[in-house]
């Protein structure tokens, strides 16, 4: 528990325990003499989760009168005016489940997104590179004939989403909302008991100062938060202030992302778009190709750091050859190709791929060939698992990556974050309409009990999949996972149960 001044603890903690908790923390009242500006909700972090929370609060008639603020280090004006040519796509792309899209529609944010830049897909092919056993996800078993297949998920660039949420917030007017763009949180402290005012000794007081050139000249603003929301990512300062421990591990894997353009396809049957994912146990993780509009696709390839460094160092044609190989060749061929040295061998990656593909039987469900990489989009990030011990503390709530970071193999990270936001905004709505203090633990426990287990479940499932599919070679685990995949693929009710779970229904 974070240190709280003794006066604030008095109602909660017995006298002897109070002495222990309060010790070692002494502040001079004169140092905090300036009265803070009081807000109902202060959100640290202007990513999709933080902006989603603000947009949801502004959208509900019950909570739209709350005084809200958001602190973001980056320039939100840049995000607001983000613009990219229609043939180019950002490499930070997320897959939104239908329940996430429904939430964005409910808060009226969806119509602020550029729909030309999002791509729905109706089918997902997942297979095991070691054994070839396969599972395909679509809603065909629950769709009547001659009807369009339901969407499995919708791909959207994070920048498009952020711009849409900013547009939604702007559309709600600027009364009672303050965006501290280009500002950073210098410190978070507990407030003080004001003799002529309220007792804020258990309230978080943020000292917010501008970044950039004129940072030193401007005095920091002091804002008090009835509810401080940490949407500030994996190294959340809000979580540090609340003294909430977090558990987890690094996967020792990197995710490589890139925006690719694909070879022309025959017009997809029934206008069905497909996402592809192949597990590559010898390389340490799956490769996925997710559709974007106009024959573009985004690549997410989870692999060992040394492979990631190697792939990033390759020239574009060799990189494309590796991507295509990863969906087509056997594990043995792939481990050879990922070791090929560019300088010493005369044979290029492309030739190697062409020659080896001829001698490999190709299944019917491979993606079209990747033929181009958009310049400057190849990047990588470390994969980690984290789960905060709690999501709440008095007057503090954590959402999104501040609360949980999971393996991206199911594309659930952002969906969990926005599900947190939906739950927290519902909780705040309930509290306001029932006279509850929105920062009180009794209020916040509704949020945490709604979200903790689902997040742990999805995060754990992704972790389990990762661990099962990094066991190379033939063995009991390989055998079991293939049997499992084949069985699930043939049992429609198990499959639709899994899909509904993944969708968040």
């Amino acid at each position: 528990m974070r240190p709280i001044s003794r006066a604030a603890l008095r109602p909660y903690v017995c006298a002897s325990c109070r002495n222990g908790i309060g010790a070692g923390r002494r502040r001079f009242a004169s140092a905090t003499a300036q009265k803070p500006d009081i807000y109902d909700v202060v959100c640290v972090g202007g990513g999709p989760a933080g902006l989603g929370l603000l947009a949801a609060l502004r959208a509900s008639p019950v909570t739209s009168k709350l005084r809200v603020a958001l602190v973001e280090t980056q320039d939100l004006d840049k995000a607001r005016t983000w613009n990219l040519d229609s043939s180019k796509f950002s490499n930070r792309v997320s897959s939104l489940t239908p329940s996430t899209v429904a939430f964005l529609q409910k808060i009226d944010a969806w119509k602020h997104l550029d729909i030309e830049r999002v791509q729905e897909y109706q089918e997902m092919q997942v297979w095991d590179g070691e054994t070839g056993s396969r599972i395909s996800f679509d809603w065909s078993s629950e769709t009547p004939a001659f009807e369009d297949l339901r969407t499995v998920a919708t791909m959207t660039e994070n920048s498009n989403l952020v711009r849409g949420l900013l547009g939604r917030i702007a559309a709600s007017g600027d009364e009672n909302v303050t965006l501290f763009s280009n500002h950073t949180v210098a410190s978070i402290d507990n407030g003080s008991d004001q003799p002529d005012g309220p007792d804020l000794s258990a309230w978080p007081i943020l000292s917010v100062k501008p970044t950039g050139a004129n940072a030193e000249t401007q005095a920091p603003s002091r804002i008090a938060a009835r509810l401080l929301v940490g949407a500030d990512g994996i190294n959340s300062p809000v979580r540090t202030f609340a003294d909430i421990p977090t558990q987890g591990w690094d996967y020792n894997r990197h995710g490589i992302v890139a925006t690719l353009s694909l070879a022309d396809l025959p017009t997809p049957f029934n206008n069905v778009h497909t996402a592809y994912q192949r597990f590559l146990p010898v390389l340490g993780g799956p490769i996925a190709l997710l559709p974007l509009p106009n024959n573009h696709a985004t690549l997410v390839w989870s692999t060992k750091p040394e492979h990631a460094a190697y792939l990033k160092s390759l020239p574009t044609p060799a990189f494309l050859a590796m991507v295509n190989a990863a969906f087509r060749l056997s594990m043995t061929d792939l481990s050879y190709m990922i070791g090929m040295s560019e300088s010493s061998s005369e044979i290029s990656h492309e030739d190697e791929l062409d020659w080896r593909v001829k001698h490999t039987e190709q299944p019917s469900h491979i993606p079209p060939k990747a033929i181009g990489v958009q310049e400057g989009t190849v990047a990588s990030f470390p994969l980690r698992f984290r789960h905060a011990a709690q999501y709440i503390s008095p007057r503090v709530a954590l959402v999104g990556d501040a609360a949980h970071v999971i393996h991206p193999l199911a594309g659930q990270g952002l969906n969990l974050g926005l599900a947190d936001v939906a739950s927290l905004s519902r909780t705040i709505e309930y509290a306001v309409s029932h006279g509850m203090d929105i920062g009180d633990l009794l209020t916040l426990e509704r949020y945490s009990s709604e979200r903790y287990l689902p997040n742990a479940k999805i995060g754990g499932a992704c972790d389990l999949l990762h661990k099962m599919y990094t066991v190379p070679g033939q063995g009991p685990i390989t055998w079991a996972r293939s049997l499992g995949l084949d069985v699930i693929d043939k049992l429609p009710f198990v499959k639709s149960f899994l899909m509904k779970n993944a969708e968040g229904y």
Binding site: R10, P11, Y12, G435
Partner: protein, 383 residues
């Protein structure tokens, strides 16, 4: 499906050890008004001791007082012994909202007296113009949550269906009132209502409230914004309120020194004609004995209520309450020599709905479960 711990103590007084300090020299210090007076008469710390008087008609046993005084320090601990009571609080708001949806006090009053023009037209978002009295507020769980819904700017529409304009909360237990006041300062909104007088904690009894002069009566300087307490019965000089609440109180009065009948009658006399008396309590049935006495007060981890909180024999059943309320309304209408008949019950409404606590899921309103234990009830006083 156990029970609640009382939020409040029975009214009337207690002989607190400190009582002798300041007894008797102040008789009618409290000024009680349901109105919103900018300069409110909030008793200062020194003043609050004035109310520690020796009350002659005590309906509270020392046992009850010492029991709740021992709980005072943990009253606001969300994980403490009062947790189940905190969890019930949102249901109180919902029950009040359902009563107001059925019959709204101020519009009725205005229709009959046509005194005010401000809120004559019922709009989509009704104004916050209801004045509340919470009897036996305890540590302020309900009173504070209702005070939080009072708009800072009175011209704003009500943010919640409870439409509170002011809240006066009374309790005879000094410890609890002090806990309540201290806790209210933790919220700037509630704190500003305390300072402006829209929200008041008084360490007093219902009897003293009824004996005090209403500031907003005819002739006095009224600052009332909407419905003043002067209505058809001009003989009423004490303050009256649109909504009087009595949550988890009635099962804690001492039946040896007072009767439920006379207690309810006093509560009803504090209700404006057209207003509601709203409460919650526990019924005295076999299932409620099992749930509230045997299971709920069992040792940890089964029990959820501190031992000794309830006395099953003091519980009351819905039909009994209904009867006392009817009798109370008729007695209030009695003249000096004539006795009022059932005509006094015109416009009276009676509502009753059970509430069930399921561990892990929380409280739920379950109509028809009144006999199981906890239930909400409400009486509307006819115009």
């Amino acid at each position: 499906m156990p029970t609640i711990r009382p939020q409040s103590l029975p009214l009337r007084a207690l002989r607190a050890p400190s009582t002798s300090r300041s007894q008797s020299q102040f008789s009618r210090q409290i000024k009680l008004t349901p109105s919103v007076s900018p300069v409110a008469s909030i008793p200062s710390k020194a003043q609050s001791h004035q109310f520690l008087r020796n009350h002659t008609t005590s309906s509270v046993s020392q046992d009850e007082v010492s029991h709740f005084s021992s709980l005072a320090s943990s009253w606001w601990d969300p994980m403490g012994p009062s947790r189940i009571l905190h969890l019930m609080n949102p249901l109180r708001h919902e029950f009040i909202a359902s009563c107001l949806a059925e019959s709204s006090p101020s519009t009725d009053t205005q229709a009959s007296t046509s005194t005010s023009t401000a809120t004559a037209t019922a709009t989509a978002s009704p104004p916050a113009n209801l004045h509340y009295l919470d009897i036996g507020c305890g540590g302020g769980i309900f009173a504070e949550s209702l005070a939080r819904t009072i708009p800072l700017d009175p011209s704003n529409p009500a943010p919640t269906p409870t439409r509170a304009a002011s809240m006066t909360a009374i309790d005879p237990t000094t410890d609890l009132i002090q806990i309540a006041k201290k806790h209210a300062r933790l919220d700037p909104t509630v704190d500003s209502h305390l300072r402006s007088g829209k929200f008041r904690y008084l360490n007093t009894t219902l009897e003293d409230v009824l004996a005090s002069e209403s500031e907003s009566n005819p002739g006095s300087t009224s600052t009332s914004t909407s419905t003043s307490s002067s209505t058809s019965s001009s003989s009423v000089t004490h303050p009256q309120f649109d909504i009087v609440t009595l949550f988890e109180v009635i099962e804690h009065i001492d039946p040896k020194t007072t009767t439920y009948q006379s207690f309810l009658e006093k509560c009803l006399s504090a209700v404006k004609p057209g207003g509601w008396l709203i409460g919650s309590t526990i019924s005295r049935t076999f299932p409620s004995f099992l749930l509230n006495q045997v299971i709920a007060e069992a040792p940890w981890p089964i029990g959820v209520v501190p031992r000794g909180t309830h006395e099953w024999s003091k519980f009351v059943n819905p039909p009994e309450l209904h009867g006392w309320a009817q009798e109370g309304l008729m007695r209030l209408a009695d003249g000096g020599v004539t006795r009022a008949g059932s005509g006094a019950l015109d416009g009276m409404l009676w509502k009753c709905v059970g509430a069930v606590y399921v561990p892990g899921f929380g409280w739920k309103m379950v109509p028809g479960s009144e006999d199981w234990g906890n239930y909400f009830w409400a009486v509307r006083r006819g115009v």
